[in-house]
Symmetry: C2
Subunit: 341 residues, 2 copies
């Protein structure tokens, strides 16, 4: 581990903060997918008993946080700081969960990259001693997202072949200076990239360039190669965006092969579930991280992961104004404690 806190866009966490607990809550469709058995909780109803989808999204966050605290056997007053955000306008999913909980919190907006951004900040804050326990928390909800970004569900609009399905779910991760669990030795901050793609139903393509940029920056900063990772996982590029990242690296003579996966591809079954290019949303990478990737690390099936949260920074207004889709990707290294050696 180099004796600096920063190399290029990459932050070095020399004390290697530990992910001591994680929890995931997912919706019905996600429960029917390939990771269905791995979520901590699944909701049968889209509204989780709330009166609106927006309130339901806040409940997803509340359930994820509650489960996280149960697993770690601590109270919420033992969490020093929460980094959170979501896709709803003005991040009301997060704010309405957090209100009156007494949890000190810093709000984020990174579109679907928010879990990686929150994890990066949690790692940075715990490493620097600003928090003894920091939580990264994010959510998305298919129905709340659909009516905000696209059409009212009752309209029954057809989805284009490149469209993705917003995941209903929330993930929560707890980071501490010591303990059992995988560690965060470093993380790479992304830049906003816009390659001029204007199709809001093809977010995977817009985000692929951002993912490629950030992974390259990470490898350049650290002197590593893709072979140093057992798994590189992007957040929600979907089938098409994933193929684009593979093609971009292939152009550089790098074959990503089986060590590259995408959370948006992992979460649904393309044959049984009609989700076109796959999953998306703040909840997508969050629940796949918590239900699948961190479990693989704990089980020793992978030793070192590059978790790359990807976000399409569009809004319905920017789409109506016929603007292109800027995108960002933040990458967090997560590895087994013995892999540090």
């Amino acid at each position: 581990m180099p004796n600096v806190e920063r190399m290029g866009q990459t932050l070095i966490f020399r004390r290697s903060p530990v992910i001591t607990a994680w929890a995931s809550v997912a919706g019905k469709k996600e429960a029917e997918g390939p990771l269905g058995a791995s979520f901590d909780l699944t909701a049968k109803q889209t509204k989780l008993g709330a009166s609106t989808w927006e309130r339901a999204e806040s409940r997803l966050q509340a359930l994820a946080m509650q489960r996280l605290l149960q697993k770690r056997e601590i109270g919420k007053d033992e969490v020093d700081l929460v980094f959170s955000g979501d896709l709803l306008n003005q991040c009301i999913g997060s704010s309405f969960f957090l209100r009156n909980t007494g949890l000190p919190s810093l709000g984020l907006y990174g579109a679907c990259s928010t879990m990686a951004e929150a994890l990066l900040l949690s790692g940075a804050f715990v490493n620097a001693g600003y928090a003894r326990r920091a939580a990264a928390l994010t959510s998305s909800h298919f129905a709340a997202s659909e009516r905000q970004y696209r059409f009212p569900l009752g309209y029954g609009g057809q989805r284009t072949p490149t469209a993705q399905w917003t995941v209903t779910g929330a993930g929560a991760v707890l980071v501490e200076p010591q303990g059992e669990g995988p560690v965060i030795p470093m993380a790479t901050v992304g830049t906003v990239r816009d390659k001029g793609i204007k199709d809001a139903n093809n977010m995977g393509a817009a985000m692929a360039f951002a993912a490629y940029d950030t992974i390259r920056a990470h490898l350049r900063d650290t002197g590593r190669t893709v072979e140093d990772y057992d798994l590189i996982a992007t957040g929600d590029l979907g089938k098409l965006g994933k193929a684009m990242v593979e093609a971009l690296f292939r152009r550089d003579g790098v074959e990503l092969g089986g060590r590259y996966q995408d959370c948006g591809v992992l979460i649904y079954d393309p044959n049984r579930q009609d989700t076109h290019c796959g999953g998306s949303g703040c909840g997508c990478s969050a629940v796949v991280l918590c239900a699948d990737l961190l479990r693989r690390l704990r089980a020793g099936r992978i030793r070192r992961l590059l978790f790359c949260g990807t976000g399409a920074l569009l809004s319905p207004v920017s789409v109506q104004q016929k603007r292109s889709v800027p995108a960002i990707c933040h990458a967090v290294v997560i590895e087994r404690q013995e892999a540090k050696a």
Copy 2:
């Protein structure tokens, strides 16, 4: 300075990162107000030559950042990290400015508290060595904000007496480990507070409780009193919210008096400018900080400032769903270098 990185909700920056430069850009109405002569740049046209108000808001950010770099005589590749956010849905004001600049960036959402949140994170990152130069950047635009949150401007809706006027402007602040300028020795992270206020045109009242909470937490954590500050400045409570904070402290036997001001009250002239309770928006505290408060520190008119960014975490959807207005406040201590002793 205590030998810890954290006390309660308060982060301690033992290396006291320095604010080495700052810049402000404001609109026409702001230029006509009491701080008119103090902005670095003022825009005559609401659209700044752009085709939409949303694009104009991104231009405000671009101008603020450009001016910041000019003042410090550095290029943008010498900035390691930008913390930014705005009020537009999905923070497109920030994303469309940042795209393809190559600036590593972390997106924030703290409603109108974003400048304080960005400054807190810039201080934390520079103090920990994660960045040699971090920039805090935020903006708001009256017309873009009005049509998003309230009514189309052409509709000519009447404003209620408690309404505030969204500031058109952007502020940018540069934080470095060393140099000339005021320092950031500590900052206090807020919690989301909701006292059940449902009037979206009375954001000052909703935010007043959050400001009171965070200032109290800050004083409790640090063992300081209000007399330790030459100035406590809230972000955009306006006339009514400011009076509420004064009343809440008075109930505790604390008379804030002349050492307490509000950026939303400072920015417009209540007699000449028809802005009801005063200014609001991400740009409000940002431009008042950069055009007024930091100048007062530099000139020695004040030695120690508690800058309290306040944010109303409502959305048009939460208002339509008849929900109350959660609010947050983050506080950043800014002081002259000799005041550290």
